[in-house]
Each structure stands twice: as C-alpha cells, then as structure tokens.
Symmetry: C2
Subunit: 593 residues, 2 copies
C-alpha cells in the first residue's frame, strides 16, 4: 500500500471498480470491528489492499481469483501491540512461520535486540527480511540504548541524534518502550527522542510497570501514549482514567490477562475501547502449543469478554493506539488485506490467513516455503569476545580463607530478583559458589569487541547442582551471560558459544549437554519454529537434570540483564541495583579465618 | 504545551509534584470522557497543561491559585471538527469572542478563505492572531486551491509543491477537506497532497457528500480518514461501516444533526464511538442566539443521545478522529488545560471556560478585553478590482430584439442550485432580467488583480423586485459576487465594496441601503460578534424588503461560487456545471423578433 501519486491512481480506479480486483473473498461473514456488527459480506482486493466490502460482483474480472469463505467468519489480521520477536530466538522469517498461521499479521516492535547486536545496518537488513515475509512490523525507534543501564555496553548506542535521523524513515511508527525511570530522571536522550517525535507526529510508547499517583502523572506529562505493563487491574484502571491506551500483556513468562482484564469485566466495560493485547516475549514452544494472539483472544473470551470486543482488542484497538488504523486493524476499503478465516467467534480457531492480499497460511501452517534471506556479515559475524579460562569466573577477594557474606540475586519471577544474603566459603582467595545453599556464579561478558567488560556476581533460585549454562541472547544488551556451579564449566559454556557464533548451551562435567545455535546476531535462528521449540525443550530438560526446577531455566537466566524491574540485575559492567540504578558490590562482608 | 527537552523537564517535575501547580480547580465533578465515568476530582494545572487529576492537595504551593468548581461538572473544552470561521465574517479574534464563551476551545480549520485572499503570508499572520486568542486552531492544509474550479482565480494557488513545504509546519495537522471529485478525477495536486501527508504522518480529511457504493470505495482507497458531510443517516452508516470517522454537521444553513444522528439512535449505538460534531459555517446571529458546539451537544441530547456520549462526540471523538487526542479532548495529565464548568450534564449550560490553563470566559462572555491585532497590508489591502459601470452587468447577445431562453440557476437550498429555464426579453442586444419571473443577474468579479475576470449569468430564487446585493466574502474563491434586478444598482453595489475595501452591501434605486464592512481580507471583521449579528440582520432585512424571502439572502448568495455540490455555481470564469465541472453558456436559445 504505497501512497505515491501513481499507486493512489491505481487504487482509486480499483476502488471505483474501473479495473477488476485481483482477488475476491466470497461467502464469508464479516466481523466489522468498526461498527461491532457481524453480517455477510464479500471482499474485493487489489494488490495488497482491500478495495470493496459488501457486494463485490462488479469487481470481478476474467482474471480475478475467487476464494471461497463459505461458513467462515472474516476478521482483520491480529496485531501484537508490543513484542520483541527476537526474544523467541526466532528470526523474523521463523517468527512469521510460527505466528502468521495463528492469525498474527502485524506486530509492533522495536526490533531492539537486533539493534543492540548489529546497529542500524543490521536493522535495515531485518527491514528487508520483514518485507519478504508475510508479517508486517510497525517499528518503534528505541528511546535509547542501552536501556539497561547507561554504562553497559551494546553494539550500537541509540541517542537523540539517532532519533533525529531514524524517525524520518517510513518504517518508523513511534518511540519504543520509553521506560518510566528515564522520564523521571529527565534523561536528555529520552526527552530528545520525545521532542523529535512531536516534530515527526509520532506517538511515544511507554513502559511504566507499577507507575501510580504522582509518578504516573509525571510520566504522562512527558506525553507517553500507552503502556503494556501493569501488574494489577487497578493499575490498569488508574492509567486509563488518566488517558492511556492499555495493552494487556500475556507473554510466555508473565500471564497478566486474567488479572488485568478485570478492569473491563469487573470495573468498567467501557474501558474495552482502549484496551488491546500484546505478548512481549514468547517462546516457540508456547506458540506451537497454545497459539499466539489468537490464544490471547480465546483467553479474553474465557475471562468473560464478548467475542466481538476481544477481537477488537486484538485488531482495531491496537491499530488506534498506535495510530496505524488507516492501514490495519479492520476490513475496510483502503486498508491492507489482512484477513483471517475463523471457524466461530466463540472458539476463535484461525483456519486460514491472508496477508497483504495473499492467502499465506492454512490449517496452522504457511502454505508456501518461506526461505530465510542470505545474511550479510553484519548479522552473522562471530562473537567479538576473547576466549575464557576458568579463572575468569572465580570471584577473587582480599582474604585467603574464611567466609564471605554476599548479596545473591534471588530470582522470584522471570524479571524479578530480590536480595538474598548468603554466607559462602572463601578458599585460596576465591569465593566459592555453593550448590547446597543454591548460590551460583553469574557473569556477563561484553561481546561486541568494544571494551572486553566482564562482570561477576552471585545468584540464587536456579538450583543447579553442577555444570553451567550460557546464552548470547540476553535482552536487552545481548551480551554473553553465563551462570554455573563451576568455573570451569562456565568457561566451557562461554567458549562453546564464542566458537559457534552464539547460541544457548548447557554443559556439565566438561561436556556440552545441549546446544542451540543462534547464528543471526547471536540471538536468533532460521530453524523451523518446531525445531527451535524442540531444542529449547532439550535445553530446559538438561538444566532440569542439573537440578533447576524453574519453568524456563534459560529464559529466567537470559532476563537477568534487564534492569527495568526491581530489585537486581546484572550487565557487563557489574551487578545492578535497579532502584538506585547503580552497580553494587555483591560482597557484603569478609571474615578471614 | 511545547515538547522541547526544556519544557518536558518542567512538565515532568510539575506532574511529579516537585514544583507546585499554578492553578488548581477544586470541588468539581469530573466528566471523564476516556472512561465514561463521572466522579469528583480536582485538577492541577501547570502553565497551559493539566498535570494531575484527582486528589491534588500535594500540588498546591503558596503561589497556587485555586478556582472553586463546587457544584459544577468539569468537561473538556469542545472541539469543532470542521469549520470555516471566516464564513461567519468574524475575524479569529471576533470568532473567539463568540464561540469560546460557549465552550468551543478548539477548531479544526483550513483557514482556507484567508489563504484564498491573502496566501501563505496572510495565513501566517492569522496563525499569530490565533496564538494571541483563547481559541486553538488545528490547521489542515487545503488539498488544493482554487477548489471551486481549476480555472477560477484566487490570490494564491495551493499545489502539491506548497504541501511539500507547509505540511512540515507545526501548525499543520492534516490535509483539509479533500473533495471527492478531485479524487475521482485523479487530480495530481490532490494526490500529491496525500502522498506528502503519508510521508508526514498526517491524516487526510474528506468532503464526500452523497458518496456511496463504488464511488465511496474509490474515495476511501485514496486514504481519506473522515467526512463531515452526509445527507442522510444511511449515508453515515455506510461510511462508518467502511471505516470512516463521521462528523455530523449542524451549521447555520444546513441542519443535519436530527437526520444524521439516527445512525446512532436508531441503527447502531456503537457507531457513537467514531461520531463527532462540526458546524462548518455559522452566522454570528446563530451563535449569539443558540450557542455553538454547546448547542449541538444539547441538540444531540434532545435527539436521544446520552449526555456522556454527546459530550464525547464534541470532545474526545473529534480529537481521536484528527489524531490530536494527545493534546485536547480529555481532562487528563499531559493534555492542555481546556476545561468547561457546566451546570448539569442534561442541560449542558457552559458557565465558565478555561483555555490553556486560564479562566477566560464566564457567563457567556470573555472575562477580559481581547484586542484584535494590528494588521499588515497583506490582510487589509484594497480590492484589486476595476470600478464598474452598469454596462458591466448587461448580458449582451447577438440579436437586437427578441427573446432568450436562458438557464437560470435556481436556488433550492444554501448550496444547491437546480436548472430552471426561463424565457427573457432581449432589447437593444441585452437580455433583460425579469423580476416577475424571478430571473436576476449574477456576476463574479476577480478581485486579486490577477486577470480582471468577470462572469455574468442568471439566477432565481432570491426574488428581489429591485436593487442589488454584493459581497467580497464568497467562499471558496472570495471573489466579488453581485446579484441584482438592475445593472446600475449592481454596479453601485460592486463599486461601494471596492471603494470601502470589501464587505457586504444591499442597494436599491441608486442608494446604499445597508453595508457591513469586512476589512480583514475583504472577508472578515474585528467588530464585536453582536455588532456583526446586528448588521447581518439589517442586511437581511434590507434584502427581504426588496422581495427576497430566503432565510439568509446574502449567505445563500455568497455560497453561489461553491462548485462542490450539484448542479450549478458561478465563479469569475463563468457559470459552472458542477457535475461536468465545466463552464456553460447560460443562453440556451435566441429568437429574433
């Protein structure tokens, strides 16, 4: 849907029925999300655009292809209002294979993990990959990177000067995930990004978990339009009363729908108008087992939302929140032809998917062989990180033997780490991890060849009895993270990833147990979604066998560098106190013996 | 509400309660249009921006001003979704005096009449006038001028090259009133304006009266977002099913609300979500007698719309349609402090008005003396038009004596002229107007010094028995229009306007009966609204006394150059067939005697 004079002329003629449609969808029942009506209607399509809805008999020419939709409900393609597709470890191509058959035809994304590992050059390459895929990405320019912590290291630093350039790109639809603390701290790059967005008429997307009262007011005064992260329905209600659009997140690791939807089902049904959905982070396994946005629609219906309302939340509401409703979110003339063929509004099973005018998926699968693009060195260069030895993962202190009281980051949820004080043995000047006390070592190694940073700290909750695991995918910086009960195994895990251009690995006793290569920027893979899911299962199983009983051992680990959520995190510059936004010394007390 | 880094810092601090509010509004009941809820809430304001809503006790400092709103409902300022304020003949300053006390704090306007008489230089001067007024204007760049008829003459031609420049101005919020026929004809300037709008992320506003079926589809394929002109509620329903935002127009001359609101009250209440209001053209008399947008809200309530819904239509719905809901349309932190103090939701009497954080009107009047700005020559230059003689208004034909069958444009409504064939006498080579048959002469004189064009044709329906009337305000070209039963009086009327720098005049028997000077561009006046209303009444009365029984004799005349609506119009290049979009010869047949 290019809006050049030439394209507009073609579309106008097609809309007027002067040139015949390329495709008509006949016999279906239209779910009109603009009017909350359901009625029989055919759809005429010219190239990638819907040109007529209703009686389209006059749009049919000799070359027009007819698609039979008898017995099917036609809904707009679903929009994921906030997702880091990279966190699924699926490349855009693989991600499209996973989610498009579920009915997700558009995502709003910062593609920020790609930027953190490959800068704008890598991003441009991903844009090309998107164009060749059946998925649309409405890109938001990250408000600033690194957004973990100003001192931490990424391949590319996103500043206000970068916003000055990229906000003018046609791919840019807003400012991505502006974290509350950066507004509160009056960060110059973040406010500069907002200043640019005002000039460029772009909305600013938010990220303000648990923002309430005065802090929420301050945040809103910066012009933030929407948020995708509320921890309870009362938070949702307050944000909406104060004018925000709300995305309810139902990710693989945080299940907020059941609680947040109460804002609509219990407090005020009118709120539904500005509520939409996102999945933020999903695993391939989850998508294969449960579905994607279609599953969120089903969950909403199960929670008591009327099917029409739930479908609106997954389509037009997101489109309006992001001001892309002129392109997607409804089946109307002039919009992109993203149309789902659904069995019933109640069960909401997506049986076929049309994107940009082409029927691309049927019965849960793409109906053609989508190939990943050849990739340049920008996205496939080796990890720029020196090989390690076991000494790199030994915590050295100023006493030879004795005990160290350390602050161990104790995982309490996928993103939440709380303080846990543990007393560990010191032998030969080294603080020893202790599997009996569930105190492991964790380290982040800078991997973009910028400074060779390496941090080291303590963590709890993973319960590995031996071995180590590592990942070069680790939002948001995507430095190399490794965790283990044993320094030699940690070194082995890291070295294996360096030698293989990135991935995720579980090792023990000097042996690699499972390995998932992630050759695309060290964070994603072009493997089939089912392959990735299978290998993820193997990785989890290996970690489980080493003693870990978390639902997603590696995912819980790879979120460790995220500093946006209290209380603790770790980046390449050190363990971070997420409230004070400073690094901290994990050694609380040393006792020489 | 400037969104520079510096301003953002101030606002964030004010929102967080770190610096005290300038003003708090206490004791009122909030009409929360975002959530359809009504509850007690105070409002804290910093400079022109709302920074907190709810309990604002922590925002009060020693210098904070408190405004008592006990017993009042607080609603957002009203937004007129489509208006040519100039057509009221009130300058921006006078218009603000008229409508702001009624609660209209924002208008969407092309300011196109100003552009047609004074170009971009005049427009910039008007922008400055807006800033000094309590009214906000969200400007849409006219899709093209002249939009009467390509060959007709205006002071400034708006082309796609102009769009390339002006769409980047911060005052620009979209493309104004894109008329359907120009889309259908695939006009290069119009499509170029849309191409630019896509690049600049601006919505395209429409004007598609009676567009249905395939022509509506073609129109929508050009990406038109909204429309303000539907002739019945079924047209409203079709446009909304096809994805448009609908503005219901209730102007001084066309009363569409009663019919159009049936789309909501009878067909589908859900449509209300994307319905809003506009007045398009209003007379000062009307505003003084009935009110402005507040009156439209009351009419909607009388028609069966719930008060909350009617208020949403006049506030947030327009703001969302025009994508300005981040600035206006709700009482939320981060929005401009445009707040109405209303007696009750049912009677909706606006008792006081705050705009941009200042209480500017109470009890139907501005509470301070708003002065019109000094004006440059751009907006006050004399009419660039040669003085006329009676011969200029004599229709000469190729026979000396006999009869002429002529096509007289017969007025059937403010914008509608139908064909009426009349047989007139020809004497001494001149076709004589005939008051017995109600066939008058009408002429449009180019008045910008560009080419000296002058057209002459016949019209019916005004029923003047003698004399003439003329106006230099005559949308959309604003050339000088004159109509009369007598060529000498027509010349007198025109010359009086030329000598006096523009205005409206009624003459008879060689004498000026009534004159309203319009020194601002020949189209508007800085007089008080009540003065203008009074003088309009005198003009109407004078025309009535000459025999005219139309409700607004001069307004019906000054719409004669509008070519957008079938069947006939007249511009400086001649009478126009609005369907074929060509000029036509009004002489159908000559019979020599």
């Amino acid at each position: 849907m290019k809006q050049t004079i030439g394209n507009l002329k073609q579309l106008i003629r097609a809309g007027r029925g002067i040139v015949p449609a390329h495709t008509v969808v006949c016999g279906g029942t239209l779910v009109n999300v603009m009017t909350s009506e359901v009625y029989p209607a055919d759809v005429a399509i010219y190239e990638d655009t819907i040109v007529a809805v209703g009686d389209v008999s006059e749009y049919i020419g000799t070359e027009t292809k007819t698609i039979d939709a008898t017995g099917k409900f036609l809904t707009p393609g679903l929009i994921d209002g906030h997702i880091h597709s990279e966190c699924s470890k699926l490349s855009i191509t693989s991600f499209a294979k996973a989610v498009v058959p579920c009915g997700t035809t558009s995502i709003i994304s910062g593609l920020d993990e790609y930027i953190s590992v490959s800068g704008l050059e890598g991003l441009q390459e991903v844009f090309e990959e998107v164009k060749a895929s059946p998925l649309k990405v409405f890109w938001g320019a990250p408000y600033k990177t690194p957004y973990t912590f100003p001192q931490s290291t990424v391949a590319f630093n996103f500043t206000k000067e970068v916003h000055h350039i990229v906000q003018q790109w046609p791919e840019c639809f807003g400012v991505w995930e502006t974290v509350r603390e950066y507004i509160q701290e009056e960060d110059e790059d973040t406010l500069g990004a907002i200043e640019e967005a005002t000039k460029n008429r772009l909305p600013v997307f938010g990220c303000a978990p648990m923002a309430r009262g005065k802090e929420l007011n301050g945040y809103l005064c910066a012009g933030i339009r929407l948020d995708h992260e509320s921890y309870d329905h009362e938070e949702v209600v307050e944000k909406m009363r104060k004018g925000m659009h709300m995305l309810i997140r139902e990710s693989s690791v945080t299940h907020f729908l059941e609680e947040n939807i109460r804002a609509v089902t219990e407090v005020n049904p009118y709120l539904a108008r500005r509520v939409s959905f996102c999945t933020d982070d999903v695993t391939a396994t989850d998508v294969i087992e449960k579905g994607h946005l279609d599953n969120v629609v089903r969950l909403a219906i199960q929670a008591g939302v009327a099917p029409m309302t739930a479908i609106q939340m997954a389509t037009i509401n997101s489109a309006e929140a992001y001001r892309i409703d002129h392109m997607v979110g409804s089946i109307c003339p002039g919009r992109l032809a993203d149309i789902l063929f659904v069995d019933s509004l109640e069960s909401f099973k997506v049986e076929a998917v049309m994107t940009k005018g082409c029927l691309v998926a049927e019965n849960g699968k793409l109906n053609y062989d989508l190939q990943a693009p050849a990739r340049s060195e920008v996205l496939t260069s080796p990890l720029k990180c020196a090989m390690t030895t076991k000494e790199d993962f030994e915590y050295k202190v100023g006493i030879t033997n004795g005990t160290a009281k350390v602050l161990s980051m104790d995982v309490k949820g996928p993103f939440v780490r709380k303080r846990r004080d543990v007393e560990l043995k010191v032998e030969n000047g080294i603080v020893l991890p202790d599997t009996e006390q569930d105190a492991l070592m964790v380290s982040v190694l800078e991997r973009f060849g910028r400074n060779g940073n390496k941090s080291l700290a303590f963590c709890s909750g993973w319960k590995l009895k031996k071995g180590a695991m590592a990942s070069s995918a680790a939002p948001d910086d995507n430095n190399l993270i490794v965790m283990g009960a044993d320094a030699a195994d940690m070194s082995l895990a890291v070295n294996h990833l360096i030698e293989n251009g990135g991935g995720q690995v579980v090792v023990a006793d000097g042996k690699v147990l499972e390995f998932l290569p992630l050759p695309v920027g060290g964070i994603a893979s072009d493997l089939e979604p089912a392959d990735i899911a299978y290998r993820e299962t193997l990785l989890s199983k290996a970690a489980n066998e080493l003693g870990c009983d978390l639902p997603e051992p590696l995912m819980y680990m790879f979120f460790l560098p995220i500093t946006a959520i209290p209380d603790y995190a770790i980046t390449d510059v050190g363990p971070v106190d997420c409230i004070a936004l400073t690094t901290f010394d994990p050694i609380l007390e040393l006792t020489q013996k």
